[in-house]
């Protein structure tokens, strides 16, 4: 893979995200201050958003960091499971593909 041209994902605009969850529950609340929207996402999607708070990442790098954070193995959570999560977050206007 040509690392220089690998597409990167980032959070939308310079807005902040706030997270809240309760122990033992499967859903995480995410507040997006730029749009004023409140979203209910699963823990994995919330983790994707948290990783992107540090800056734009390629899918591969994002995937590796998720594995580190969650403790999943590459077999339990293959890279191609990440794409639908990112697509859904993109539809919620939470993430976008970085153009430059």
């Amino acid at each position: 893979m040509d690392w220089a041209s690998a597409p990167r994902w980032r959070l939308l605009t310079a807005s902040s995200l706030k997270f809240h969850a309760w122990p033992g529950e499967e859903f995480v609340l995410v507040f997006h201050s730029a749009s004023g929207d409140t979203h209910l996402v699963d823990a994995l999607s919330a983790e994707v958003l948290r990783r992107l708070q540090d800056g734009p990442l390629t899918e591969e790098t994002l995937w590796r960091r998720l594995l580190e954070q969650t403790g999943f193995s590459a077999e339990e959570f293959p890279l191609d499971r990440l794409q639908p999560i990112l697509t859904q977050l993109e539809q919620l206007s939470l993430v976008e593909r970085a153009t430059a």
């Binding site: 809240h20 969850a21 309760w22 859903f27 609340l29 004023g36 209910l40």
Partner: protein, 323 residues
Amino acid sequence: MIVSQCSLNALRHQLRWGGVCIRTGPFLCRIQSPLPEIARALADSYAHFPVIPEAPFADIHLRVLPGRGLRRWIRPQVFCQCDTEVPFNPHPRRLAPAMLEWGLNWAVANLAHWYLMIHAAVLERGGRCLVLSALAESGKSTLCAALALRGWRVFSDEIALIRLPDSQLVPLARPICLKGASIELIRQRDCEGLVGPTWPDPVRGGIALVRPRRETVAGMETPAPVGWVVFPKFEPGCPTQFSPLPKALAFLRLADNSFNYSLLGTTGFQTLAALLDQAQGCYKFRYSKLDEAVLWFERLMDRPPECSASVSSSEWPEMSEPS
């Protein structure tokens, strides 16, 4: 000074010229009206409320006025005005006391954005609050009135006022507004004569107000933390059922039922999250028998019922499919 210490004539006079300032919960409300029935409504339903003569500043200014033009005399109407806003269509003049309640609720919900406000009934018992969150026609005012008659302290039958820094619930302590069949249901249980007369209303099947007790009004300045959040639904013929609701889902329902969650932005999110942090539990609740529902809430007060632990499943089964 409280309202009952004013004569009816003095109230009528003051309402017509300059207005009567009454404290309801944290709000000072200046009420003006040329209609004598508003003076009677204050004397009946607001007897224990503090009145502040010559108050220089009021939070809410509400006028209850006779219909415009010919509707002042012919099939007379009444409407209310809060500053420049006329929030409701005119109604028959006999519903003037109800128009006062609706107007005050409207004013609070549209102005008081220093609270997070949710469309819910709130009652306190044993130092913690029960929040009954539901939209109109869900039976929450009936439940609220039934619990009030059992001695629960009513904060409000319509608006949960949540203080922003600490998510404490703040009382309004105003009368409860009942409609239709629930009026007789509550009147049958009323030993203290708290339920006022029924005003005929073909649209709603009648309206009556339940006046607050002296203790409720006296406790008007005492907030309390949340205990439980319940989403009730009256369904004719339905057995009493409940199921626990994850707090994340309860959060979205409360936000949906809120007057100003969206307006408050990040603060709204944080305040609602903190409220649910403090809550012992959240439940969906369906019922058709009022007495059973009251008993369920009183048991809830003691401890939150687990799915099968504290109640026999044949008596109160957990809901089999999500509603």
